[in-house]
């Protein structure tokens, strides 16, 4: 059936027509929102612009391990403290969740029925209870620990109380920088040795003890240097003075609760990803490698894991992204991350909701994009290389 509207049934015309219509409607909506917003802002006496970033914040942040923060510091500094705290809990959480998830994923496939059932129960409970509830639960457990005066002592140097974990703070004296340089050099040289050994094995078939030599380089060489330089490292121990500890390094319960909840929750998802990845490697691969006489640990390291990683890495990336975004739940227990510090308190003090939320959202977007970028590079490096 042909339409009477001849020009309207022309595909090219229709495509241009619809797209202009959509763009027009969008522009109209945008114009409407901007005009009402500016009217509303003026009426409510809310300032606009970015100058508020230079104003003093006027509040304290209890947990700022990297930057010294005083209440006279600016909102801009609140932002940086928030970003660093978000990154701190995300990165430590991702590392812990990956380690725990891999272990649990492999244990879940164990031939021991009881053990694998136990992990299954853990995974189901952890996945099916809201993360926010888990964070709050961990926090409520941590703040019910004994008071500072009765704090639990672990190994004589760590104190655990409802104010958090107090541990000795390392003090680096002059000369320690040489040890650090030695460690960095050791890492670089073991990386180079690894490359050289691989090339040599490809050419001659001879193996080189890469692992033990790297361990030697990374641990023993800096350790010898450390003692030659006269141990340039001392510890400041926390001391109970009055109602609180003085000195030492303190890890607040807010951080511990966030770290535990995020890593335990995400580890449950990662363990399922790892399990699916390992199961995706066909049984023939395992049998074939056993047939050519590889040891059990080598089968896992050289045959199963490299192939499983191809399946594991893409969903693992999205778990890292989820964990980073979930770190924004710190607001529920008062962890001073980006959302709580800058998007919460600063926003309430200045009233500049649009600017604050725009900065927070843009920051999360850039963190997400950065993670995706690096994980994509890693993913490309482990995919099938056709020769």
């Amino acid at each position: 059936m042909r339409s009477n509207l001849g020009f309207f049934s022309d595909e090219k015309f229709r495509s241009i027509f619809f797209q202009t219509l959509v763009v027009g409607l969008f522009a109209l909506g945008l114009f409407f929102v901007i005009s009402t917003t500016s009217y509303n802002l003026e009426k409510r006496n809310i300032a606009t612009g970015w100058s508020f970033l230079q104003n003093p914040a006027g509040f304290d942040i209890s947990f700022s391990p990297f930057l010294e923060f005083k209440s006279t510091d600016t909102h801009l500094k609140v932002y940086f403290v928030g970003v660093l705290n978000t990154l701190l809990v995300s990165i430590t959480g991702c590392i812990a969740a990956t380690i725990l998830g891999f272990i649990l994923g492999i244990v879940r496939l164990s031939s021991n029925w009881l053990l694998s059932r136990l992990v299954y129960i853990y995974v189901e409970f952890s996945r099916n209870v809201p993360l926010l509830l888990q964070i709050i639960l961990w926090y409520s457990i941590l703040i019910q620990l004994p008071r500072v005066k009765q704090s639990l002592q672990v190994l004589d140097v760590f104190y655990i109380s409802n104010r958090g974990l107090y541990s000795p703070r390392p003090i680096f004296e002059s000369g320690f920088s040489y040890v650090l340089i030695a460690i960095v050099l050791a890492f670089i040289s073991s990386f180079l040795i690894n490359r050289w050994a691989k090339k040599r094995q490809d050419k001659t078939g001879q193996q080189f003890p890469v692992f033990s030599s790297s361990i030697g380089l990374i641990f023993i060489v800096p350790l010898i240097l450390f003692f030659i330089l006269g141990s340039p490292l001392s510890f400041e121990h926390p001391e109970l003075k009055g109602f609180n500890f003085k000195g030492g390094l303190v890890i607040r319960p807010e951080f511990i609760a966030m770290f535990l909840a995020l890593s335990i929750y995400t580890a449950a998802f990662i363990s399922e990803i790892v399990r699916a990845g390992i199961m995706s490697v066909s049984k023939g691969q395992r049998e074939a490698s056993a047939a050519i006489g590889l040891k059990q640990t080598w089968i896992m390291r050289l045959i199963i894991i490299p192939q499983a990683l191809r399946v594991i890495v893409p969903p693992l990336t999205s778990q890292y992204l989820n964990l980073t975004k979930n770190s924004s739940l710190g607001i529920a227990v008062g962890y001073a991350d980006l959302v709580h510090g800058f998007g919460g308190i600063s926003l309430n003090q200045t009233g500049q909701a649009i600017e604050c939320m725009a900065i927070v959202m843009a920051t999360y977007l850039s963190i997400s994009l950065t993670i995706s970028f690096f994980m994509n590079i890693y993913n490309r490096s482990i995919q099938f290389k056709e020769k």
């Binding site: 009402t36 021991n112 009881l114 409970f125 099916n128 709050i136 607001i331 994009l369």
Partner: protein
């Protein structure tokens, strides 16, 4: 040797319970040691947890036989040596956990809505339901009925949403979020795959933006920014503002899931539909979407589980869902210090819903694997 050999039974060690135990629990030395260690841990843990949750726990009365009305009367606060959990707090506050602060005289309306919700879900969950078509009509009009029933109007007295709470809010947010996000997600998925560059770019930007930021920032957006965007006089309800944020969030995730389904449709389906002279919308509505949605049902259920858990985030912007009521109860001096009981109960409720949904998704996955034959006929 033509003579039939006597049929011998397999060795006892490989069959039956003993065989199962040998293979699964005591295969070799390390395996046996692990088994014994796990059994020892369970032996330490299980009696303790059973004792705390059931045998030493108070349900309504404490060990003196008094009815518990505050935390001081809990057995474990009277006698720390013997008492277990104090479930009386759940018993006393049960109404709030389920209905929030909904007026008691009107609460039958919520109950009717709960029953109707179950009826409306029935044809969606169970494909072989007799008279499914008529049940589906009911499902379509259920949101309208539920709106008037819960909110008021049409002869019902109005109950403002700040009186809603507990499971009611959790279910309203979860169900409405999922139901609204579904059509929006389909439109976004179609838009992202559209041949029109402007539309595809706009949909892609929207989806990637929403997926790149945490839900909590969207909730803040709904709470503090949305009122600034709207002209004066339009005062949006707090629950509605949260719903907008939740729906936007969920629709982006839903769109990606449905896009995955759309990508799995073989191009022959599009070509066949076009060769029959179908328009874009007829092709999508009649040919492509029914197939695409059917294969993406399991991941749709999975993102819905995610949303259901994420509805707890609304407590941060001051809406009292199940977890919010729990925290409110804890802040009450009468029930101070009963956090384990309350969080245990709230976790259990969420677990029942989400675990049920995940089992359902597994069941669907199995059914779909054997059921349909994609694109072969």
């Amino acid at each position: 040797m033509n003579e039939m050999n006597e049929v011998r039974k397999p060795p006892v060690a490989t069959t039956g319970i003993i065989g199962w135990l040998r293979i699964n629990l005591f295969f070799n030395w390390t395996n046996s040691l692990i088994t014994l260690f796990v059994i020892y841990c369970l032996y330490q843990f299980i009696p303790w947890i059973l004792d705390w949750t059931i045998f030493s726990a108070d349900f309504k009365y404490n060990y003196l036989g008094e009815q518990i009305t505050n935390q001081e009367m809990c057995s474990r606060n009277l006698d720390p040596e013997n008492g277990g959990a104090c479930w009386a707090v759940i018993y006393v506050r049960f109404y709030q956990f389920i209905y929030g602060f909904y007026p008691k005289v009107e609460v039958w309306r919520v109950n009717v809505a709960y029953v109707m919700l179950a009826l409306a879900l029935l044809p969606l969950l169970y494909a072989k339901l007799p008279y499914r078509k008529y049940f589906l009509y009911f499902t379509y009009i259920f949101p309208v009925i539920a709106y008037f029933l819960l909110n008021g109007g049409l002869g019902f007295t109005e109950v403002s949403t700040n009186k809603w709470g507990g499971l009611l809010v959790t279910l309203v947010l979860g169900c409405t979020g999922i139901a609204l996000a579904f059509p929006i997600g389909i439109m976004l998925a179609l838009g992202r795959r559209s041949k029109l560059p402007v539309i595809s770019m706009m949909c892609t930007l929207f989806i990637e933006f929403i997926r790149g930021v945490p839900l909590i920032t969207l909730l803040f957006f709904g709470m503090v920014m949305l009122p600034l965007f709207l002209p004066e006089g339009i005062d949006m309800d707090g629950l509605v503002r949260v719903l907008v944020a939740v729906t936007l969030f969920q629709s982006a995730y839903m769109a990606e899931v449905i896009r995955g389904g759309l990508q799995a449709i073989p191009p022959g389906q599009y070509e066949a539909a076009k060769s029959l002279g179908m328009s874009y919308w007829r092709m999508n509505l009649l040919i492509i979407l029914p197939q695409a949605i059917r294969i993406s049902i399991p991941p749709i259920v999975n993102t819905s589980i995610g949303l259901f858990k994420d509805t707890t985030l609304v407590i941060i912007v001051g809406i009292l869902d199940l977890l919010g009521i729990g925290r409110g109860t804890l802040a009450d001096t009468n029930w101070l210090g009963l956090s384990y009981e309350i969080y245990f109960f709230v976790s259990l409720v969420f677990f029942i819903f989400t675990f049920g949904m995940s089992r359902y998704s597994l069941y669907l996955e199995k059914k779909l694997k054997t059921g349909i034959n994609m694109g072969a006929d």
